[in-house]
Each structure stands twice: as C-alpha cells, then as structure tokens.
C-alpha cells in the first residue's frame, strides 16, 4: 500500500486524496460541535488525526488534497463558507505530514510512529501558523489575537488529537497492510 515515490501523482494519489478528503469532511462534520475555547470559529477536530494519517500513509499530495478538499467540504456543508486560507492551512498540514511517508517502513514500529507523529506536529504547526497569520491580514486581526486566539488553541487541540489517535490508526493500518499483503 505504501508506494515510496513521494511526489508521484497517479491513480493511487487521486483515489486516496478523495477518500481522505471525504473522511476528513465527514468526521469534521461529526466533530464540529466542539468549539475550542478562545477561538470562536476554530473547532476541536479529532478528524485531524485522520488527515495526518493519510499524509503519513500515502504521501504529501494525498495529504494536501485531503486537507484542502476535506476542509472545504466540511466548512461548506456547515455554512462556514469558504476560507481559502484555512483550507490551504489544512492542506499544508497534510502535505508536511506526508513528508514522513518515505521514512516509514513498518507502521507498528515505535521509531516509525514517532517519526510520523513528529512530522504530523510539524505539519500542524506550519498549517495552523499559515492560516492564523493570513487571518491577520484577511480579517484585520492584531498579532495577539492571531497567535494567541487562533494559532495556539488550534495547534494545541490538533496536537493532542494527533499524539493520541495517530499511533492507534498506524497500528491498525499495519494489520490491514499485513492482511492484504500490499
């Protein structure tokens, strides 16, 4: 299942990009009920772990597509509208997490899980920082609100979710890979 051609964009990336986007959209909808404290339109999303997982398992293009399209679908369906910077921020989150793909050989090995979580946290930092800083220019926020009111709760919420759920998803995925043989 794990093609090591990191930047290839073929059938596999098209299909898993779509699946990741649909899953991220559905699970975001299901968990949009938890607004984070101090950030009015930033919600607590356990689905972020799924996005990071798709990046780590299938590469940066899948992470980018799943994050961008999934966030757009979830936001549009709930009436948030289209915030290109948050969608792109989510896409960047998946893309950076996807850079871990060539480093992962065994999805249940402790070292590989730590690598995936590490890249996932880096992706969350890059993606949420991009979205929060662009919000400063788009929404006219001050630095304090952008960094403390938006970036910090979004980063911490996503980080906690990723640290807890990503290892569980990776260990489950290792069993699926072993059973299918690819």
């Amino acid at each position: 299942m794990n093609d090591k051609s990191t930047w290839e964009f073929g059938t596999r990336q098209v299909v898993y990009g779509a699946i990741g986007a649909a899953l991220y959209g559905v699970l975001s909808l299901a968990t949009n009920y938890f607004p984070l404290p101090a950030a009015g339109n930033v919600t607590f999303r356990p689905a972020v772990a799924v996005l990071i997982f798709f990046g780590a398992a299938y590469g940066p293009w899948v992470g980018l597509l799943a994050g961008f399209i999934g966030n757009t679908l979830g936001d549009a369906a709930m009436g948030w509208g289209f915030y290109w910077n948050w969608s792109l921020g989510n896409g960047l989150m998946g893309l950076v997490a996807g850079l871990a793909m060539p480093l992962i050989k065994d999805f249940k090995a402790r070292g590989d899980i730590i690598k995936a979580v590490g890249y996932g946290i880096l992706g969350i930092a890059v993606g949420m920082l991009f979205a929060s800083v662009t919000e400063k220019f788009i929404g006219g926020l001050d630095w304090n609100t952008a960094l403390v009111g938006y970036f910090t709760p979004a980063f911490l919420g996503n980080l906690v979710v990723t640290v807890i759920l990503l290892p569980i998803l990776m260990i489950a995925f290792a069993a699926v890979v072993a059973r299918r043989g690819r």
Binding site: T11, V15, L23, L29, P46, I69, G81, G139, R180
Partner: protein, 296 residues
Amino acid sequence: MLVTWKYRPRDTFIQRLDPRTRLIYMLCIIFALTLPDIWDYRIIFPLFLISLTLYLLARIEWKDVKRVWLFVGVFVFFIVGLNGVLSGRGGPGSVTNMFSPTLFNLPLKIPFTDIGWDVPITVAKLWFAIIQIARMLTMAILALPIPYTMNPNIYGTAFKRMGASDKISFTMDLAFRFLPTFGRDFMITVDAQRARGYEVDRLKGGVTERIRRLSPLIVPVVMQSTVTGEEVIDAMDLRAFGTAPRTWLKELQYAPRDYAMIGLGVAIFIACCVLKWGFGIGGFFVPDFFTNLLIG
C-alpha cells in the same frame, strides 16, 4: 458498496440549471461574504432571502432533509449562536472591542469548583449572533440542496468543464461520491458500538481519555476506507486511468438562464467588494433600532 446521495430528478428551475452555474453562483456568494468580510445586515438579509428563495425553488421534500436540517439547526442556532452571544468571537474584532450596553451578566462556574466569572451579554454580542446565524445560513442553504438536486454522474464533468485537470476533477468527483458512503459507514459503526455497550453520548474521563475513546468509532471507518481504496484503484487501473487524456461522456451546455444566474452571482460579488473596499460599507455595526428595541 457505494452509497449515493438522495438525488432524484425533479422538473424544477434549480435542476434545469447547469451544474457549473450552481457551483459558480455558490462560490460567488461565499466569496462575496467572506473575502471583503461582510457583516452588515443590509447586505446579509437580502442575500439570505435570495438563498432561501433558491432553496425553496429546489422543492426538496421535507422527509429527505429533516435530519440534515436538525443537524444544521443544532449547530448554527445552539453552538454558533450561543458561542456568539457568550463570547462574541468568530467574527470581526469590533464585536468585542466596541462600546455596547450590557443587558445582563451571566454567571458561569466550572462545575464542582468555586472558580467562575460573570460573562457580560451585550447588545453587540446579541446582534452579532443573529447576523452570524443569517450569514451562515445564507451560504449553507446554497450548499445543502446540491446532493439532492445534482446528478452524481456529472460532478466530475462539471469540475472538468470549469477548467480543472482530469485528475483533480476525478478527485473532486470521488470525494463527493464517497461522502455519503463514509457518512453511512460512520453511523453504522456508531450503532454497532452502541450495541456492544459503548456509550457514545457519555464519554467519561479527561480530554485525553475522551479522545482515546473515540478510536472505536474512527478506526473501523478509516481502515475500511483504505481497503475500499485499493479496490477502486484496481478498477481504475484496469480502465487505464491516467495513461492518456480522458473523454467525458456527459456534455454540458449553458442556457440563457445560466448566464443570468452567473451574472447575478458575479454582480453580487463585485457589489460587495466595491461597497466594502470602495465605500467602507459592509462592516459590523449594531443598528439603532435594535439597541432601542432592547434598552428603550
């Protein structure tokens, strides 16, 4: 098994529109409200009425959408509305920064402790909650009818004819098609776990434990989707997907009504941009009649 949206052909104005027209119009309204950051009721309320008219023109049966409306209603009215009233956040900074008369103070306490504070409920926060709800519904009720009134067979064609590449069009097409399938899978998983005694509504423990206990809901859906993906890839590879430019079976043609709708959407978008950036109209403010209504 791929589950489809509850699409049904109906002889309505909305379904006679080209799918591209509907997507372009929706994007125009979303961009018109979000890019220039419009929070003025004089713009939002008329746009809400147009969106509502288009929704009613779709003539979707209530039994098909009542669960979706319940979901949207709980989210928009209780979660976002309540959040707006209590915090005033999620919109322009002026909601919390501007001077506004306080209607009353709401005492909030952390359960089982004496720690708490008084949250001032201001006229501005209350008006913001109303505007926020109307603004979100203006966009949501344009997106909501799409699954019920747009033929799933033309999602990909619509994106392709809007200029996207074959691969991106197919990604969008598949994402739209997989949404209801995974939604159904998620609900089946929730029901199956409930049958095993899993208490979905009563997740106990701290934040960490609650997140960890979500895994019996998330993991089966995600793992099943990875297996489904392999089957879809095999099917697409067997049809030589990606080896040459694709042809698309469905042809789309714009009619005069499509040009009219697109023209309306573009005009609304340009008007919002000009009003906000050219004349400074469109930002958040509390109208006098609302303040007078509440405090006399």
